[in-house]
Amino acid sequence: MDPTTFKDYLFLIPLLPFAGAAINGILGRRLGLRAVHLIALGSVLGSFVLSVAGFLALVSIKSPEARRVVSVLYQWILIAGQTGSFHINVAFLLDPLSSVMCLVVTGVGFFIHVYSVGYMHGDPGRARYFAYLNLFTFSMLVLVLADNLLLMFVGWEGVGLCSYLLIGFWFSELDNARAGMKAFIANRVGDFGFFVGLMLLFWTLYVSSGQAVGSLSYGELKGAAPLLLDAEPILGLSVPTIICLALFMGATGKSAQIPLYVWLPDAMAGPTPVSALIHAATMVTAGVFMIVRLNFLYLLSPVALSVVATVGALTALYAASIAITQNDIKKVLAYSTISQLGYMFLGVGVSAFAAGIFHLVTHAFFKALLFLGAGSLIHAAHTNDIRKMGGLRAHMPATFFTFMVAFLAIAGIPPFAGFFSKDEILFSTFNAHLAAPGLGKLLWLVGLMGAGLTAFYMTRLVIVTFFGEFRGGESAEEKLHESPRTMTGPLVILAVLSAVGGFIGLPAVTHLPNLIGGFLEPVVALKGGAASHGSHSAALELGLMAVSVAAAAAGIYLGWYLYHKRPELPGALRERFKNLHAVVYNKYYVDEAYDRLFVRPVIAISRGTGRFDLGVIDWVVNALARATERISAGIGWEDLKVVDGLVNAIADAVKYWGYHTRRLTTGKVNHYLYSVVLGLFVLYLLVLIT
């Protein structure tokens, strides 16, 4: 389809899942099961087909710079001022970046929808589940396709809502509901930063550009962005730095980075396909996407980029260390996701934006696969606890085989997908010039350690679940079974993608085209092309590659040695380093610390405010009322004696006079007539005198 024609259909990509959500949400309980499935899967498949068409339409444009289709649907907000105006459109932008994101969201999303048909079999809330899932797809597509920051924020919080709804999907368990709430509020903390950043960005540019950015569209922002450098620093920080850090605060919430990552492990309370789609493949990568989308802002602030890279690297290592100790298979994968997201931020933080997106894509493949595989295991073993699994390889060959592919991909073994993307990030980090000298090398080392740990905890996970003897008891063992085709089918497809997905981003040393890097170049154009390529020797690149493969191999060997060769050792080590293990196992007590530092104080403040309201403000009001009452009672006494006395005196006087004048009212008409005539006469006299 040619791009101009496609433009008119662009809005259907998000709209189809929205329609699906609306139909299933409102009529779901009356529709049959088949209809619910058909609507839910059909709408996402339709979006996927359109996303592919959009991708092809983009590619058909010869000049990479021109690969940009904007479709304005309607005017969303228009406020005219005396001079400029604030005019936000509901407009979608299809460019290489959003195209890649659409393909991931609808593609991986569709397979997860298919998988859900099998996984949610027999659940009474299926219509609701699929409505939420479609609503999520819609929100995510709005997020990636939006052409301006405010519309993106709609998607940004919309995915948060769906995440909340789906984490707490089985709301009978109060813990699930709590986990959903925690996710929403942690995200809101980030969104606070995001919104402040948005306001500062808007006003700084609006004022300095002579109101040229009233639409908040990426095109206008990009054009005006250099003006930010001229703005007066605030509290010693440059304005672009403040803006980028504030926006990044939103990213740490959405993408579960230090310090706001705490909600993601709890979010595993949701159904496993949800964890795969929302909390691994798509939503949690929104922060990475946002930074790449706004790369022109971040490039203005080396400080902000360095902060992003540092937070990413630290999160990558930190979360990997927790993953080692967890026994809940989904918790292991959750920390693994946090860690892998850290790599993506490390990538974008060192300005390797394409590499960040590349890792986002491969991670979507292999992490979705890992979660779906875990779901398959949980479906069979009816537990999340890996200590009650073991030896499942014999019972579930398809799950085992596909899980192994994902394992190799995440561990960074060539030529599986994760190897290429992670390696490109590490390579770029090694060569990066950040705000502080030597920071790039240091972060590379942190990332490398994280890579070793990743290989280690994944090896542990694979060995404990698939190898050895089954430890879940005999009755459970009899029920073990491979999952249905609707579940294994998506596993196989994702396994293929995890195996070969890396070839879309081959390293420079191969002298083969880096497809994704080239495709994304117009969006993330850096001064002098992708900084990580070309300027460095092939020897360095190969050497670093060898080091990271060695780190992965070491991790795998250690895992194999500890959990397969000498299975008694981990227990002994745990005993030996009891305190350290306790700290890491309890996630460094960060949840507890946050509870003490933030949650409880906020509740205490709110209780205090409530009490202040009743005890002070309302008390004053009531005291005033009582005082008035008291005074009026006093006045009342006065009233009785003085005012009333006066009134009574008057009354008495009237009575007295009345008594005496009573005789005038004789009841005889002629007497009255006389008095009338008399009165008239007196009046006449009065008039004469005056």
Partner: protein
Amino acid sequence: MQSHILSWIIFFPLIGAAIICFLPKRLESWMKPIALASTVPQLYWAYKLYVNFERANPSFQFVEHTSWILRFNIDYYLGVDGVSMPMVLLTALLSFICILASWNIDKYIRGYFSLFLLLDTAMMGVFCALDFFLFYIFWELMLLPMYFLIGVWGGPKKEYAAIKFFLFTLVGSVFMLIAMLAFYFGSVEPATGLHSFDFTILANQAAHIGILKDPVVRWGCYLLLLIGFAIKIPLVPFHTWLPDAHVEAPTAISVILAGVLLKMGTYGLIRISYPVLPDMARAFAPVVAAFGLVSIIYGAFCAMAQKDLKKLIAYSSISHMGFVVLGMSVFSNTIGINGAILQMFNHGIITAMLFLLVGVIYDRAHTRDIDGFGGLAHNMPVFAGYTGLAFMAGLGLPGLSSFISEALCLIGAFQTYKVMTVLATTSIIITAGYFLWTMQRIFLGPMNERWEDLPEISLREAACLTPLAIIVVVLGFYPMPILDMIGATLRNTVHLVVAMR
């Protein structure tokens, strides 16, 4: 009839009230339908106004202007502009819905519905009056039915709540009265040389004479009006009548109270204070913004502390009205004030939903203790869905109407009050906290035996809620119907405030 459309929309409910008053006792069952029928034409006229209102015209439309009390140059002067239009629409819609929501009233039906229709007339009058004296009469006229509606049909502490409401509002009215007299004696109509109550004349600075030229008097008048309106909005610390009034008032009255009456405070500021005393509006703006900020944060924290669901919603109203006040105290751009008026409309719709939902649950469970519930989503999924939507609208979820208005208020305010706006923005966290926490405590968790038999929301209740829900969603994706209406007038208002001297 077209030319008298505002008179009709104001006084038609009064006809219904009169009929209900004199209906024989044996026809009592007709009273509710008659009450409903007397609000339907209002909806029709509101629709007519909506269709025929000229968006680009910033001045008053559908004007009706005749002399009324010649001796004091008081006119019967009606008209609507962009600021009053959304309020008129809101009043018409909520009055209709509230009659429907009052169907289960069974005590003194005659009194309730005739008073309600009287209240309807008074509210419409406030939003259409362009003569201060007429405005004041309508303003005071609201007090009487409201007092009885709370005091007779209210909850256990109704007398206390009613008298508190009455006295608070009366204090505000007295302040307003003083300012009104100062305006009257400090102004002169150029054409006739008489003192005037006419808003359009009062807004003309050239018409000000004597005392109204004295900065101290102007300052004092602005302060008096500000306090008078602050009580109505209500701004912390003038707010304590609100939680009590809400908790005791019957459902429909809470809806009217929060949905329409609170808006009169901010409406009054824009209709009276800003145009007549624009210099003072500028001078007081930072103070007003600070009051808005305090209300936003204080209201949110108080809401979080509540155990009574209705009280929680009442405090959330204080917090949400704070956004209006913050947004309308910016004059360096028009974004804030547009957001403020939009927020007045949106909050009217959302808070109406919230109070109707509280009514639904209270009618069934006869308690509003949040901690006493739990797991209600099992047996009342539709009700949970409506509540979920209303709560999400309450916490300003993008895609729903309140997001746009709150965002506009914040964005607008940010240009002038950076620190205050950042502080106000923190409320999105607290607000999410108390709404979600409430959602969890009432609806989620295991099925609660005690509430197993609560019936699902009824058709009538759903009929009250559905139009509001649709508005919340539609305005979230397409707020232009309102923004279109208010933009030209507000641009004028801001220009007036900025331009003076």
